[in-house]
Symmetry: C2
Subunit: 427 residues, 2 copies
């Protein structure tokens, strides 16, 4: 059963959650030294000068459609932009992630910095930018094309500043963050990709304003459960097991489940379907189920309980009616698996990101959400998701917009660069 | 609520079931006198001579497609054949039934004799007759085109025998017997048509061989129950009422219902559907439900229990979760209503039909089924469904066939004529 993987992954998370704060946890002074450095001044000046290019690239990238599972054209363009920005080893991996490396001094461990290529919008969506002053409007312009453009600006600024980081930095425009993409880009990168054993820290650029630090990943598990039976005529074959009855029983039991308000834990039956006619016992019905939790332990609990109650409902139907023509069987197929996870507030990556945010006069705003960082968090790789710049709105809607007013945009790039350089400079 | 009608109808049936045998119940001697009469001999000779025309008309009518709700072409042809056979007041009524009258002597009450025009086969089905010896094969050739052809032969034989019946006989090629037609032709005829108050007895020609007398109607009620709620995001709006949960609860309760084996009573959830995505609380889901019983009382019980449990499931969901964005509501829409009913074995129409069958050396075979007679039985109008002639097979299948071997065909017409004339001659 594929969902076996999820349970193992859930188990693994507890290692990360239980890990003590590293002894080398930096304080704000490291970030202050960075900001006071000559390199930083040079990089910051470059960011100011590079603003127009940032806007141009944001428009160019937005207008290359990148529906789920169809990010190839944008990936190709992004790989070229990473190459143009001076990264080494630029390539598109087997999953479709576009990536390149900026070498560090230690020559081993890596910080992965990601912005996802995909949008939620299907093929054929008009992605032409509409501009009103500093406001750009187009599907996907904020989530997450702005993240992609910001990342390019950061790469160029790091080159301009000639920063020497300890870790290599792997910059990735990744596929499959949205919806049914199911975090496939990051899963590949961290579980199968060539750098999987070298990535020791992880920064996703996919939030709103620069005060946002996502250090927890809401886990979710999704199933399509298919109930099958022999079927038959509603009158002539009455008395045979009915998969709709088994599914109804499972839904009823599921609806009676108790979950905690804190940590937030939820469950849903979103879609039901099956059967051919009112006067036939169905041979097959199915339901799509979604379960989420801020807590790995609670997600495991609700998942285990759900799978158990599906089994009970099936067994109950096979006892209640005749199985002479065949039994009811249920097949819970995992159709979504966003692993839960957490990076402790006391971990170096969170402390560093927070120090960087504070150094720009902002107050860090911690959150638990569902982003590409879920995967590393679940594996015990310290990870945060940081902001791409604000203001913006109507994400996932056709009238999505983002504001590229100069000062806000430039500041956002500076904060992101500070976080990335500081994390990559951790001992 | 439309289903109110069904409950009233169910209630009405008990009047018919409880009625004492009429004092004028005929014995076999009346049928014997009929068979011994000069008129009968003349009519029987006519039937023998008319055989080729019966076969020709069966072929002609079979090759005019008559899918459910698309019986108009066949109705038009049939009306002309009824006119050619010498009936008066031939017309096609507002529902599409083709009909004509043969006057009786009492000038008031009517016996309605029906054969349904519709087949189960959709538009575009090849209805060309394939003939192998006396076997005719084509979709619908048996069910119920043979009934239509037999009825025409009976009309002509009654004219040839110059029978004077007490009642008028209304001969009808009716629409809507099959499937979703839901007995619409007969419902119109008996509830709204111009003769609705004059029809006192009812004979449907729609069985197999001539020993068959259907004197009970399996009732069925079908619903599409739609559960609606406010919907919302599976995570963000978790805690709101979920119509899939209410429907699951209803299905579970339904599946626990106890029904008797005798009289045979059944229930089914045949189709479930609804919801838009796994991560949305559905705003609407629905299920298609079928309930049947040989017993009006049991059908009423299962129907009442079903509607009550839908209400309980909805109420339960509205208590279990938040209704701040709206409540769950269920709308049980009646999509099928074949009323149950019974004509007592001691009623004149059954006794007469049985006597006619016996007079041809056959043993009456009584059955409970679902035919056009369900409607009059439920209204307390004495009704039977009799045979159209056998052998035949593969009804409702593309390779349906019926055998028109001369002696069997001619005998079937004679038995049917005897039943019709004898019933129309009841005082």
């Amino acid at each position: 059963m594929r969902f076996g993987c999820a349970l193992i992954a859930l188990g693994a998370l507890s290692i990360a959650a239980a890990a003590p704060p590293a002894q080398s946890a930096p304080d704000a002074s490291a970030v202050q030294r960075l900001i006071g450095s000559a390199q930083f001044k040079q990089a910051a000046a470059f960011i100011d000068a590079d603003y127009d290019r940032f806007v141009t690239e944001l428009i160019t990238l937005t207008e290359i459609p990148a529906p789920p599972f169809k990010e190839a054209a944008r990936a190709k363009a992004y790989a070229q932009l990473l190459r143009d920005a001076g990264l080494a080893d630029v390539e598109i991996d087997a999953e479709g992630n576009a990536m390149g490396v900026r070498k560090g001094t230690a020559g081993g461990s890596m910080v992965a910095v990601l912005a996802h290529l995909d949008t939620v919008f299907p093929e054929g969506t008009d992605v032409t930018i509409k501009r009103q002053g500093t406001r750009l409007m187009a599907p996907g312009v904020g989530d997450n094309t702005r993240g992609l453009a910001l990342m390019l600006a950061v790469v160029r600024a790091m080159q301009a500043g000639r920063f020497q980081t300890t870790s290599d930095v792997l910059f990735v425009g990744n596929v499959g963050e949205e919806g049914e993409g199911d975090l496939r880009g990051v899963k590949y990168l961290l579980r199968q990709g060539k750098y999987k054993d070298r990535i020791k820290q992880f920064i996703a650029i996919d939030g709103g304003d620069q005060s946002s630090i996502t250090n927890g990943g809401v886990g979710s598990l999704r199933y399509r459960v298919t109930f099958k039976g022999p079927g038959g005529h509603s009158y002539g074959a009455f008395g045979l097991v009915n998969p709709a009855f088994a599914m109804g029983e499972a839904i009823a039991k599921f609806s009676h489940m108790h979950v905690p308000v804190e940590p937030r834990t939820t469950f849903n039956v979103g879609v039901v379907s099956g059967g051919t006619s009112v006067n036939s016992i169905p041979s097959e019905v199915s339901m799509d189920v979604d379960m989420r939790s801020e807590s790995c332990a609670e997600l495991k609990k609700v998942n285990d309980a759900f799978l158990a109650l599906v089994g009970l409902a099936v067994d109950g139907e096979n006892v209640a009616r005749s199985t002479r023509e065949g039994k009811i069987e249920a097949d819970p197929k995992l159709i979504g698996d966003r692993p839960c996870g957490e990076t402790p507030l006391t971990s170096p990556i969170v402390l560093t990101a927070a120090a960087a945010v504070k150094s720009f006069g902002l107050t860090p705003r911690y959150s638990i959400s569902s982003t590409d960082s879920n995967v590393p968090m679940n594996m015990g790789v310290p990870a945060v998701t940081i902001g791409r710049g604000a203001p913006g709105g109507r994400g996932h809607a056709p009238d999505e917009w983002t504001d590229v007013e100069r000062k806000g945009s430039v500041d956002a790039i500076k904060v992101a660069m500070t976080i990335i350089v500081a994390v990559a400079s951790l001992p």
